[in-house]
Symmetry: C2
Subunit: 151 residues, 2 copies
DNA sequence: CCCTTAATGATAATTGATGCCGATAGTGTT
DNA sequence: AACACTATCGGCATCAATTATCATTAAGGG
């Protein structure tokens, strides 16, 4: 969980016999310039890059998101919309968690070092190499509690 | 997050103008008798009930799992296999979290009251009605760290 | 017991994600 | 700088998990 640059990503890829490509750099760059609190799905990213004239095929987007998540560069989030979202995996003290309303899908971010430390400690204890640690809260937000809409 | 019975489920459903059905009771019962550490997908549950002669259509299974998750009776888990898993949402001190190897999908359960409390406190602070709180750790297990298989 | 309508079951449709393959282009080497 | 090797790309076909549809059934309140 450290901050990646195009250079350090290339180094890590080459070390494993893999390659740096313009597409991978573009995608890393997109996430590095994404505002805190924003999360992109594969489709989101695809459209977003299309609009800035940096179009990348959807296949490559899916492949790269999965690759970067498994390298620990991106966090794979299961919010409440039926598909994965991604954000860059910033180290402490930027690390945060998510509070999700299951009715309206509104998502709040919050920080909690205790939970983070608990995750780090548990991974260490079991000898696991940590990639990401997220405290996810499913709940009903105040306005949805008042609404009469079923479930 | 309290322990449901067929009676209390019926009461809560009726209160919202919904109905208790044999299928819903069967599914609640299946999860209540599931060993700790077991997680079922919709397909798993479908086959499992089929074998004990309590067959329920897959449509109803999907509908009921989603309903119960949104009522807070079941926890919806995003493990590492591309489809959702469910388990009953037991209150403290049975409440637990998951440590997942992203390479082999092996999943360990562990308890951590600190993380649970942090989640409860955060939900309260924002005025959210808590349904579930899970600390999910994505990592690489010791044996997968030694393996040469790419990512 | 009856009426209203929520819920079921069977099937079709959707869709997020992956597999495939010929074409392209990084990387290490000569 | 040119080359060889092969990882990666783009476009498209495919898969599998989930959702939508709708006629039929049955729960629950009066
Ligand atoms: Zn976030
Ligand atoms: Zn809400
Ligand atoms: Zn569990
Ligand atoms: Zn593993």
């Amino acid at each position: 969980m450290y901050a990646y640059t195009a250079q350090s990503l290339k180094a890590e890829l080459n070390e494993r016999g893999w390659r740096m490509t313009p597409q991978r750099e573009t995608i890393l760059d997109a996430f590095q310039h994404l505002d805190e609190g924003k999360h992109l799905s594969a489709e989101d990213l695809h459209e977003c890059l299309e609009q800035t004239g940096q179009g990348i095929s959807l296949s490559t987007i899916y492949r790269t998101l999965k690759l970067m998540a498994r390298m620990g560069i991106l966090r794979e989030l299961e919010l409440a919309e039926g598909h994965k979202h991604y954000e860059i995996n910033r180290p402490y003290p930027h690390h945060h968690h998510h509070l999700i309303c299951v009715k309206c899908n509104k998502t709040l971010e919050f920080k909690n070092d205790t939970a983070l430390k608990a995750g780090v400690r548990q991974a260490e204890k079991e000898g696991y190499h940590l990639l990401d640690c997220q405290l996810t809260i499913h709940a009903v937000c105040p306005s949805c509690q008042r609404s009469i809409v079923p479930i």
